[in-house]
Symmetry: C2
Subunit: 274 residues, 2 copies
């Protein structure tokens, strides 16, 4: 059975979108469609140009016997700006302020479509880095970490603050929570992260950065290299931040619990979008 070009293009576009950041050998499509390599290359060229023009992402092709095609999703500056503006508007709602200067964000973190866009934004900032795993802290960071990992095609590693039996042998560290100054514990199963991995740390909310400092200490126990730290919201209400090098989508400041007021503005991540 012969496929028309338009049918091949539907299939190949779907396949690439469903397998981001994965090298697909050209021979896979050549065999599937029983077509000459040159025709398949032309199909890919059409997909590549449309993806670029319509800002869907980047299609790279590599030549040679082990050659193939890789789709790298990319968020462009205009879309990143729109997304951050949308998040700022959404989070600015007065009723979101919770005791302790936190923001209610469960609806945002529970919205898969919106979180998918946030994941694409974060993945774009680190697209040129070699990353082996996304590391996060239970429970709020998990959905966000999954959204980033979906795009990057790498595993998610979840650090827990309790020690459940279902993970096998674990490594744990104690850390001082940056804002409450309490001593807490975090635990990671040995089996979940190979030694000497390159990791990106992702979380929903950062205040002084105590938890993330804890994660970094735990990572050094696994001989991991922390390539970056990215948070959805950072709170500016902090005198000494423990972490200096991070990206944030949104910045929270001027929290006044008595008057139920606060300010939400864009974080530093747009600097990464030229």
């Amino acid at each position: 059975m012969k496929f028309k070009r338009s049918e091949r293009i539907v299939y190949m576009t779907s396949y690439l979108l469903r397998h981001p950041n994965q090298l697909v050998p050209l021979t896979f499509f050549v065999q599937k469609f029983e077509q000459a390599k040159s025709s398949i290359s032309e199909d890919i060229q059409i997909i590549k140009e449309t993806f670029q023009q319509e800002e869907i992402g980047i299609v790279t092709t590599t030549a040679g016997a082990s050659g193939g095609v890789t789709f790298v999703p990319k968020m462009y500056r205009r879309e990143a700006k729109e997304l951050i503006d949308y998040l700022c508007d959404m989070l600015q709602e007065k009723e979101r302020l919770l005791p302790g200067g936190y923001l209610f964000m469960s609806d945002l973190v529970g919205n898969p479509r919106l979180l998918g866009q946030v994941g694409e934004l974060i993945a774009t900032m680190y697209m040129d880095e070699e990353i082996d795993a996304i590391v996060t802290i239970a429970t709020k960071g998990i959905s966000l970490a999954n959204a980033v990992a979906n795009i990057m095609n790498v595993p998610v590693v979840v650090i827990r603050k309790d020690n459940k039996v279902t993970e096998g042998s674990t490594v744990s560290i104690n850390y001082v929570s940056g804002s409450s100054r309490k001593i807490e514990t975090m635990v990671l199963s040995k089996r979940t992260l190979p030694e000497e991995s390159n990791v990106l740390i992702v979380d929903d909310f950062m205040r002084a950065g105590g938890s993330i400092t804890g994660v970094m200490n735990l990572m050094s126990e696994f001989k991991a290299k922390v390539i970056g730290v990215s948070v959805l919201v950072e709170s500016k209400e902090v005198k000494h931040r423990l972490i200096e090098d991070y990206t944030s989508l949104v910045k929270l400041s001027d929290v006044d619990e008595y008057n139920q007021s606060f300010t939400v503005e864009q974080g530093n991540c747009l600097e990464r979008f030229k």
Copy 2:
């Protein structure tokens, strides 16, 4: 600027794949491409037929002024069978058995590509139901719930076993853990689930079903209707199961901790794939 048919097809295929279970008005594409409605309809027909033939999913079109096109991802029986066989092989590894008859599954739950397929399988089983939200229990169920919600285009609602301040006012219930017979608490923020929602409960592992019974009781506090319960792994080592109506991908039995042996076989979910 005019688009060629092949370029339109690349764009429309991408758009539909990135917006599953969402009605896209035909006029959106008509305006984008400055093309007659009839040409756009022809493009969609090509996408529809290829998606069906290649078992990517279903494209439905509705006529009229508010008409449009919806992409519904669907997993077909052959692929569901392959996935379940793969999961059985993977989980059969001897080293996975943990104290208490649990299985190490963090690598599976942390693999976004694999979890995406599991999400598509579960979403397919409930594709004909009206579902407003996916409900799960922290922490292990979160990634799976996100994978299902991504496909279904509905929010994820996370029930917690601790009570953190960052969620606003909450409803909590006590329940008896089916296997350990301990009394535990589960908590859900009032704001995260509107009353009278139709929910699908998703979790990674079910033994006697105590947690899921707890979730069902909590759901009745929210006047929610439980449309279904779906778990990745069910353990058969249970005399009285508290939940009768559920789907599972994989079944664990014959757990012998002393000899480090157990059996993994396919769960009941293939019955839903004709």
